[in-house]
């Protein structure tokens, strides 16, 4: 449904840019020295080259790829991302990608409701850039206005913030969660006429699944699991998927990170009604 798979490439690239594009997110551009292509929703494993670096590479969704340059968007959360943030232009990085199952490509019958939260933006933004049509709806949620990487978002993007501070002059944002924002938008598609494509923290994914259910839409979610290999060999990243009543483990890195919400009934259960979109 998404064409022939793209062979992953393992290469040592060179950082060409690495800078904050908002108060909390950095954009990293890596020249891989060879052509790189991907499908929106796929990711790359990144590490320092050579025997140094971290035992496990770090997964990051592909934000964009132009010719030989791969772009990522990330936030500093631990030692790997802290080290990434220190890298000057010219530094070397080991990259393996693209990996994983992407978001579905568009179909004529259904429009897309793109929901991105925080550093969950890259896959939905990439989808929008590549495939976005007039009727597709694009919403991005951040903690506040300063965290939003405005320069990356075209005019079609609707923005929600938890706190309305830090908004640049002339920018508007909905105060609340991103699914709350989506609900306020005019002309939402009818049942069976849209798919949600979402990536972000778990509460966002749960809220997205619930919204899809309410509206009778399809729903595809990009999950995050800690990863060992990123290419399916270690079984360190499994997610239970339920089909036809039987549970089995799917690798988040290979069978995911994008899953049909229908296969993840536990998403709703664990929530226990405390879904973030209720506030």
């Amino acid at each position: 449904m998404i064409g022939t798979p793209i062979s992953p490439v393992s290469a040592v690239g060179r950082v060409t840019a690495n800078r904050y594009v908002s108060s909390a997110f950095l954009r990293l551009d890596i020249d891989l020295g060879l052509p790189f292509d991907f499908r929106p929703g796929q990711f790359a494993m990144v590490n320092e080259p050579g025997p140094g670096g971290w035992t496990f590479s770090r997964p990051f969704s592909v934000l964009a790829a132009a010719d030989q340059t791969l772009s990522l968007l990330y936030r500093v959360v631990g030692r790997g991302t802290a080290a990434l943030a220190e890298l000057p232009a010219g530094a070397s990085l080991q990259v393996l990608g693209p990996l994983g199952t992407p978001f579905p490509a568009p179909t004529a019958e259904r429009s897309a409701v793109l929901l991105g939260g925080g550093v969950g933006l890259p896959p939905v933004l990439a989808w929008c850039e590549r495939w976005g049509r007039k009727d597709d709806i694009a919403c991005f949620g951040a903690r506040d206005g300063a965290e939003v990487p405005w320069e990356l978002l075209g005019p079609r993007w609707h923005v929600s913030v938890d706190r309305p501070n830090g908004l640049p002059p002339g920018r508007v944002a909905f105060t609340g969660v991103v699914t709350g924002l989506a609900r306020t938008l005019p002309g939402l598609p009818g049942p069976g006429r849209a798919d949600i494509l979402a990536c972000g923290p778990l509460p966002l994914l749960r809220a997205a699944a619930r919204l899809a259910q309410e509206r009778g839409w399809g729903c595809y979610l990009s999950l995050e699991e800690h990863m060992g290999c990123g290419y399916g060999v270690c079984k360190g990243c499994v997610v239970p998927v339920v089909r036809g009543g039987s549970v089995r483990n799917a690798t988040c890195c290979q069978e995911g990170p994008v899953f049909a919400a229908a296969d993840l009934p536990w998403l709703g259960e664990e929530d226990g009604g405390r879904g973030e979109d209720t506030h």
């Binding site: 393992s10 060879l34 670096g53 290999c229 060999v233 079984k235 360190g236 499994v238």
Partner: protein, 306 residues
């Protein structure tokens, strides 16, 4: 730059028990899946991730499929990792039906890693394997996983007794006349050489040393172990000196060919095992990080024009 004393080409065939194997750099069980995930991977050098590899030791399979342990299963530590995969695998039937033929078709040299919950269960598994794969050119042998510390039933204690090792090896050997038989030993014992002696006496062609070291890490946010089962198997760069010590103990104390495993990420790491007398070397955790790791080491340790 290779040291003067280094005289081998690890990409040349060598004999292990009844079998010629295509090379001395292998991937370790559980760290490269069933050897079927990286065929289309590319690198600027052009050579694929299987080039020069002597064998893929496949993820351990058990008689029945296993769903493995609860998540999380992996913890990265300062210089290695803990895993608690719990032997998730497709089960022996599916392995025979789907995996092994695919390896043969793709020409992936392989050694099949098996685990069972009783020593005597190995014989019938090996017999079925042998029957189905008798004519396979790329199936080179069996590695008995006697050491996985993560499995509740048996697990840790299973491979730490020489008597049990002996029974496992004897059971498998009887059913495996013409392929290499390896016993993979646990390091979590005071005297690993004694286990190796037991394996040799029952006819193992080699032992693989080591499996993971028992380790634990604490999540400071909760004050509890990261892994639901508390302990995990410690692997990666941190365990290299431990693996070298165990291999040295076996080489000098048990007179059986040894396949070195543990902490190998570079050609220099692999050379250390060969220096101690190992006949082959496996790449585990490093192969997870870089699917080209073993192939790169093999290339670095091949002699002649390249």
């Amino acid at each position: 730059m290779l040291p003067d004393w280094w005289q081998l080409d690890v990409t040349e065939p060598f004999t292990l028990g009844p079998r010629r194997l295509p090379g001395r750099i292998w991937t370790a069980s559980g760290c490269f899946g069933y050897g079927l995930h990286a065929h289309d991977f590319r690198s600027p050098g052009g050579e694929g991730p299987y080039a020069g590899i002597g064998a893929v030791v496949t993820k351990t399979v058990t008689p029945a499929p296993r769903a493995g342990n609860p998540m999380p299963r992996l913890v990265e530590t300062a210089c290695g990792a803990l895993n608690s995969i719990g032997l998730e695998n497709v089960g022996f039937d599916a392995f025979l039906a789907d995996v092994l033929p695919a390896l043969e078709v793709r020409g992936v040299p392989n050694i099949v890693s098996l685990a069972a919950t009783t020593p005597e269960a190995f014989g019938p598994m090996v017999a079925r394997l042998h029957e189905q794969a008798r004519g396979y050119a790329h199936w080179h042998g069996v590695e008995l996983n006697l050491s996985c510390p993560n499995v509740a039933e048996g697990g840790h204690d299973f491979g730490s007794s020489a008597a049990t090792v002996a029974r496992c090896v004897a059971s498998a050997r009887a059913a495996l006349p013409d392929r290499a038989l390896l016993a993979k030993l646990t390091p979590n014992v005071a005297d690993i050489a004694q286990l190796a002696v037991a394996a040799r006496e029952e006819g193992a062609d080699a032992v693989s040393a080591i499996n993971t070291v028992v380790g634990l890490d604490v999540d400071l946010r909760t004050g509890r172990p990261f892994l639901p089962r508390r302990f995990g198997g410690y692997s990666g760069a941190a365990i290299l000196p431990i693996a070298l010590a165990k291999v040295d103990q076996v080489v000098r104390g048990a007179a059986v060919p040894v396949v070195g495993v543990g902490g190998v990420a570079t050609a220099a790491d692999a050379l250390k095992f060969f220096a101690l007398g190992a006949v082959a070397v496996q790449v585990g955790t490093a192969q997870m990080r870089d699917p080209f790791a073993a192939a790169g080491i093999a290339r670095a340790l091949a002699r002649g024009p390249r």
